[in-house]
């Protein structure tokens, strides 16, 4: 049983949970995730370890409400327990002293990006973070990213805060300023990662993307999470989730993410019928 020791709403539809999981906290490295099952009849969903505190024995998860399980999870409060949390899963981020690293996160992509940036910083790199949101009221963790980055660029699609545009505009700005970039690490919605990879490829900047395919076991057993990288089949849960972004087939990933779309819609509707309609109790 994994107790929720703190919970906080970070932005519209985004919750942060600090969860008691001492064995996972001790082992978690940047880039890794857990798989969570929140009830007896529940499904298994992957969530990134955004932060860990081995002393306190906790890990931090950031969850965006998008469907049945994440809406249901948002009903959990401090003191509640999550029946199943397993991890840390996936390969840790490969970290070197590259020089100047640009960490690019969109929305929930900040969960992996935060933990990765911490590791990259500790290895002695200079860090610029580019974080993108749709609009001002969806922004979270700006302070946290500022604390570990040498520079932070916030972009909003509607220009309500920071720079108007997409994260790729933020990266382009750095390039135009003549900044030398040695490595880009990106996480977020697939179209965003695809755009980032497209841009950095043009400038020959090595880029790593943290992929988010559908997973079940998270240990290489089921094959649900297979992705194509450089023409080869990889299981993202054990071979990844991070891969060379210039070699990832993002279109295939986008397609595979919609395999259960119609059933997922049905599940959310059923859930909302039983709850107050907004999906929360």
């Amino acid at each position: 049983m994994y107790k929720i020791v703190r919970k906080q709403e970070l932005a519209e539809n985004v919750d942060e949970f600090v969860i008691e999981a001492p064995d996972i906290a001790r082992k978690a490295k940047p880039g890794q995730f857990v798989i969570v099952r929140i009830s007896r009849k529940g499904e298994r969903i992957p969530l990134t370890i955004a932060e860990k505190d081995p002393e306190e024995g906790t890990i931090t998860l950031m969850v965006q409400r998008v469907g049945k399980t994440t809406f249901h999870l948002s009903c959990f409060e401090e003191g509640h327990v999550i029946p199943d949390v397993v991890g840390p899963l996936g390969k840790p981020t490969h970290i070197e002293k590259w020089g100047h690293v640009v960490c690019v996160g969109g929305g929930l992509g900040l969960a992996p990006i935060h933990h990765i940036a911490q590791g990259v910083k500790e290895a002695g790199n200079r860090i610029t973070t580019v974080m993108g949101f749709r609009s001002k009221d969806l922004i979270f963790w700006e302070d946290k990213m500022k604390a570990i980055s040498d520079r932070v660029i916030v972009t909003t699609n509607d220009g309500s805060y920071g720079m108007k545009g997409l994260v790729t505009d933020g990266i382009q700005k750095l390039i135009d300023e003549g900044e030398k970039i040695d490595m880009v690490i990106t996480a977020g919605p697939v179209p965003m990662m695809k755009a980032v990879a497209g841009l950095t490829k043009k400038y020959n900047i090595p880029t790593v993307a943290s992929l988010n395919p559908i997973m079940v076991d998270g240990t290489g057993m089921c094959g649900a999470c297979r992705v194509t990288v450089g023409g080869e089949i990889k299981f993202a849960c054990v071979d990844g989730p991070e891969f060379d972004a210039h070699r990832v087939d993002f279109d295939e990933l986008m397609n595979r993410l919609r395999m259960f779309k119609s059933l997922e819609g049905e599940a959310l509707k059923e859930f909302q019928k039983k709850h107050c309609g907004c999906g929360r109790e």
């Binding site: 529940g42 499904e43 399980t69 991890g87 059923e270």
Partner: protein, 464 residues
């Protein structure tokens, strides 16, 4: 001794009719009644050579337990079996008896072999109804053993060592114990209830089970070696092989493990009451000819909306590795067999599989190994109209448990190499058995390995 007349035909195990059973996931076989069991048990001639016992990897005292059933001593029969096999209700249902105990039964030479498996399941089920005897335990030895994996191998080794007084902890990656018995083999063949029931013995013996615990990730094998006096690895063969042909990653194409895990472990047949979905179209092709393929096909047959299910296998039916009974049940349930057929390409439309191009095969002359190799017949390609495909072409050991370990000898297919007598690995104090050393085998083989390993571990701990 006066020769008794031998009854050639076995008493059939009552089963539900195919039309009825494909509407749900309840067990297909109803099992013997006490009367039927006694009648079948009397077919055993208690032959002096008892080849059946040799045919069983754990040496169940077959003639003895069958005699007890014939005498109406059902509970005693179950306890007799449990001297060697703690999971009679499971093994009686899933062992490939035709290749093991029943395959060598003397009665089988003139008629049907004695239904050893069905009798074993009967005895196990009967004892469970009247109350299972609590197992005896030796005085605590103060030694600690870690077991990786809670499939039949892990369960058996843990039970044996706990009985000998060692303190045993099982580490299991999933949120439920049981291994393939829970996530792989469907409920219509082996109800989860029965697995839970047979797992009770671990609780009675004080074995600790840590779920959601991946060795290689949550803790490494090295850390286990520091914390425990010995380690037994029974992590199975949970790495699915993929057919590397065009269109593999189209939506609607699954590996058997994903398909079965969604339905068996996660309850997808009860979606949306259970949260995990499983997508199936109208026409499902299952590629492969083993138990896994039969399980997938019969599972698909039971899912809403499915109209046709094909087994696509590149050899002929005679070469199918599946248990004879599974093939028979699959046919009864309307699964269509396309043997001597091999897929060459998955055809997609808008990202979804809409067909499968296949080629017909023929069997060549036997090669050195005596197996007739299937070879494609040129120009025989055709398209099978399907919208869901499940690959059941085998699996190998999952390497995750070995992550970050030096000095563990591993073979060509990723299997852990052991001394066949003791199940000792190349690492001091580390033993392994079951699918992780064979790369896919049987429940009873895993249990046989586990018993061997338990004996060797016990000896090792006493010497240590």
């Amino acid at each position: 001794m006066a020769k008794k007349e031998i009854k050639k035909n076995r008493i059939p195990v009552p089963e539900r009719p195919a039309e009825e059973r494909i509407k749900d996931f309840n067990e297909v076989k109803l099992g013997y009644t006490p009367e039927l069991a006694m009648e079948e048990a009397k077919r055993c001639i208690q032959c002096p050579t008892q080849p059946c016992v040799e045919g069983c990897p754990v040496r169940v005292p077959i003639p003895q337990f069958i005699k007890l059933i014939a005498e109406g001593k059902f509970v005693e029969a179950a306890r007799k079996i449990k001297e060697e096999n703690i999971l009679p209700s499971i093994c009686g249902r899933v062992c490939p008896q035709e290749n093991q105990c029943e395959g060598v039964c003397v009665v089988g030479k003139i008629g049907d072999p004695v239904a050893i498996g069905a009798l074993e399941a009967f005895a196990g089920d009967y004892e469970a109804k009247v109350g299972i005897e609590k197992p005896q335990k030796d005085e605590p030895t103060g030694k600690k053993v870690a077991v990786v994996g809670s499939g039949p191998g892990g369960i058996t080794c843990a039970a044996d060592l706990a009985k000998l007084g060692h303190s045993v902890t099982i580490f299991e990656a999933l949120h439920e114990p049981g291994g393939v018995l829970i996530y792989g083999i469907p409920e219509f063949r082996l109800p989860n209830e029965i697995v839970y029931r047979e797992l009770e013995i671990l609780k009675d013996l004080g074995v600790k089970i840590k779920l959601n615990y991946v060795i290689g990730k949550t803790k490494t094998l090295e850390e286990l070696r520091e914390e425990f006096d010995a380690v037994f690895i029974a992590s199975g063969a949970g790495l699915p092989y993929m057919l590397k042909i065009e269109g593999l990653n189209l939506n609607g194409v699954y590996a058997a493990n994903e398909f079965l895990t969604r339905v068996n472990l996660m309850g997808a047949s009860r979606f949306p009451d259970y949260d995990t979905p499983v997508y199936v179209g109208k026409k499902v092709a299952v590629i492969g000819g083993g138990n896994t393929a039969m399980d997938v096909a019969r599972t698909a047959k039971r899912l809403k909306g499915v109209e046709e299910v094909y087994i696509v296998y590149r050899r002929s039916e005679a070469e199918m590795p599946a248990r004879v009974e599974e093939v028979h049940h699959a046919k009864e349930e309307g699964v269509i067999f396309k043997t001597l057929t091999n897929p060459v390409k998955f055809i997609g439309k808008d990202g979804w599989v809409v067909g499968m191009e296949c080629v017909r095969m023929e069997l060549s002359e036997p090669d050195e190994s005596g197996r007739r190799r299937p070879v494609p017949i040129e120009g025989s390609n055709f398209v099978l109209d399907v919208d869901t495909v499940v690959l059941a072409i085998g699996q190998g050991p999952n390497p995750i448990v070995m992550e970050g370990v030096d000095g563990l000898e591993v073979g060509k297919w990723g299997q852990i190499v052991v001394d066949p007598e003791t199940c000792k690995t190349s690492l001091e104090g580390v033993f392994a058995g079951g699918d992780v050393i064979h790369g896919g085998s049987t429940v009873i083989q895993a249990m046989g390995d586990a018993r061997k390993a338990a004996a060797a571990i016990h000896e090792y701990l006493l010497e240590k």
